[in-house]
């Protein structure tokens, strides 16, 4: 498997080398080089902000296609709760779930159902009092990756539980093996995903060696065919497949995961820039008295994912309607106080120092002084014409040896001016005048 698989990729033919994506990237992972955007692999957290902001649609999310189903004997769809917010007038999840079966899946296991188990496991872990407060949700893979590269001191606050998607896959495979007698490798689990970060999370999971999910199909890819199947469904054909309640469905929106903890001292932030501000404040211990922090990279939560088709606010309104007559929760862990082993992370979240200047502190300090010096000679406009998001980032690129100072058009202009001046000085005195 690739060392750095990313769902977010560039379509070079569409990229015009503008500054939209470099300005927006929360880890400063993008530069424009030779007129095209280049993503620094180890810095990218697959949040999808660049996809959202690119006016030329040059940023894409790699995801799997329905044709991948053919590789497995028994295929199971794992729909994200956000999928339910994409359809108008939906008051029963069974329309969506039966529709998925009509698309060729043998079974459906709702991720919202697994989310209810994760909520219960979180409550148990928090009650046991062993987690460092405030506990930070690990459900959004872009946020976990953001913390890993930008917030070293918060890594041990991240909830060490696998995501609802992963738990849904574990359950789905166990049940399918029992039901069909097939070996695990012939059973394929496909997450119906609202975002590219989940696609990456399947290929390069955090907290587990290998994901049990075999593929991720974008909501936007499946939506046209699925809504077509749903439109043609006769009420008699509806299968009683849904098995989740208010708690599970609410995971689709910001605040859903934390309200499921049934505690008051929580905060839910969404939108990557808001999230960064909250993380900074937690780091400085400026947010006290909180037990749980829910963070979602996308505005509105998962309904705001770049692979959704509906406006996140409309999706929220639709989910409110859907949730209305649901039971609170339909999934429960076995009684007791423990959390099943296969819901836990296998290891801890480890800080990745891809943004630091050097592994050697003394060398890093020298570099920072050089960066300060280079930055002082730049115009400070943060225009992005050099291909870096800010003058500061450009100064860092120069010191790292990835750019040359003359890549700044203002520096270049000054250099040309000086060059022209010295030429004209030569012309004025030192050189002998042409007698003609």
């Amino acid at each position: 498997m690739d060392k750095f698989f990313h769902s977010v990729t560039l379509d070079e033919s569409k990229c015009v080398g503008c500054t939209n994506c470099i300005k927006r990237c929360p880890t400063e992972a993008i530069r424009v080089r030779n007129g095209k955007a280049v993503i620094t692999s180890e810095r990218c957290i697959d949040c999808g902000e660049c996809i959202r902001v690119c006016p030329h649609h040059a940023k894409r999310a790699k995801h799997d296609h329905l044709s991948m189903l053919d590789r497995f004997t028994y295929k199971i769809a794992l729909p994200a709760p956000s999928l339910y917010g994409q359809f108008n007038n939906l008051d029963d999840q069974d329309y969506v779930l039966t529709g998925l079966k009509k698309l060729g899946f043998d079974d459906v296991v709702e991720v919202s159902g697994a989310a209810e188990l994760v909520s219960e496991a979180t409550r148990r872990l928090m009650d046991a009092g062993k987690l460092k407060r405030p506990v930070i949700s690990s459900a959004c893979p872009a946020i976990v990756r953001l913390i890993r590269v930008r917030f070293p001191d918060l890594c041990d606050h991240v909830l060490p539980l696998l995501s609802p998607m992963e738990t849904a896959a574990t359950i789905a495979k166990q049940e399918a093996m029992k039901k069909t007698g097939l070996p695990e490798e012939e059973i394929g689990c496909f997450f119906i995903t609202p975002c590219p970060a989940k696609v990456t999370d399947i290929r390069m999971p955090i907290g587990i060696e290998r994901s049990k999910v075999d593929g991720a199909i974008a909501i936007s890819e499946i939506f046209p065919q699925l809504s077509n199947k749903m439109d043609k469904l006769h009420p008699d054909e509806l299968e009683p497949l849904s098995n989740s309640g208010i708690i599970g469905v609410s995971w689709a929106t910001s605040g859903g995961e934390s309200s499921a903890l049934l505690k008051e001292r929580y905060l839910a932030a969404d939108g990557i820039e808001n999230v960064i501000r909250v993380l900074e404040e937690i780091e400085d211990e400026r947010i006290g008295e909180l037990d749980f922090i829910e963070l979602n990279a996308c505005t509105g939560g998962c309904v705001g994912g770049v692979l959704c088709v509906e406006n996140p606010y409309v999706a929220v309104a639709r989910l409110q309607r859907l949730r209305r007559y649901l039971p609170v929760s339909q999934n429960h862990l076995e009684s007791g106080e423990s959390v099943p082993e296969d819901m836990n992370w296998e290891g801890e979240l480890e800080f990745s120092n891809v943004l630091t200047l050097s592994d050697d502190l003394a060398r890093a300090m020298e570099m920072m002084m050089e960066i300060d010096e280079v930055e002082a000679s730049l115009p400070g406009l943060d225009c992005g014409a050099c291909g870096a998001p800010t003058c500061r980032a450009f100064a860092e690129d120069v010191v790292r040896g990835n750019s040359q100072k003359a890549d700044c058009i203002f520096v270049l202009r000054k250099q040309i001016q000086q060059f022209a001046d010295s030429i004209s000085n030569l012309d004025g005195g030192i050189l002998p005048k042409d007698p003609d």
Partner: protein
């Protein structure tokens, strides 16, 4: 040994900018790959000091020196000075005005927290002239 010197003017007239200097120091220490625990302690200790300068002294200046072993923070103001340092060090003691209390400041935890998060702290204060406060945080300190 290499040393990085940073200097900040902390404006006293704009409360909404309080915390920018300590935020910048934190950001730079992260870029350097400094010890994460030390970064957190520097960020908190300096933030408290910076807020104090804004609330009580009409702003001031911050001088920060970073070397591989330690971070030294010197906060200098020309404010009213601290009449009774030992009292100011008591948890819960505060002379902060009501307008900042409504923002959650003025709980009387500023100086106690600075003491708690730094390895060394000295306060030099003259009533009517101002206060100079020095804090040192060692990169490999095992305090906290």
């Amino acid at each position: 040994m290499s040393m990085l010197k940073l200097h900040y003017i902390v404006p006293g007239d704009d409360f909404t900018r309080a915390g920018e200097a300590s935020g910048d120091v934190k950001h730079k220490l992260k870029k350097l790959g400094y010890n994460p625990t030390a970064i957190r302690r520097v960020a908190i200790a300096m933030y408290e000091g910076e807020i104090n300068m804004v609330i009580h002294a009409g702003g001031g200046e911050a001088f920060v020196e970073v070397d591989p072993e330690k971070v030294e923070i010197v906060l200098v103001d020309k404010g009213p000075g601290i009449a009774d340092v030992s009292k100011a060090m008591q948890e819960g003691w505060s002379t902060a005005p009501d307008n900042v209390r409504s923002l959650g400041f003025g709980a009387g935890m500023g100086l106690p927290n600075m003491k708690k998060y730094s390895d060394e702290m000295t306060i030099d204060s003259v009533v009517g002239e101002g206060t100079t406060l020095k804090m040192i945080i060692y990169a490999q300190s095992t305090k906290l």
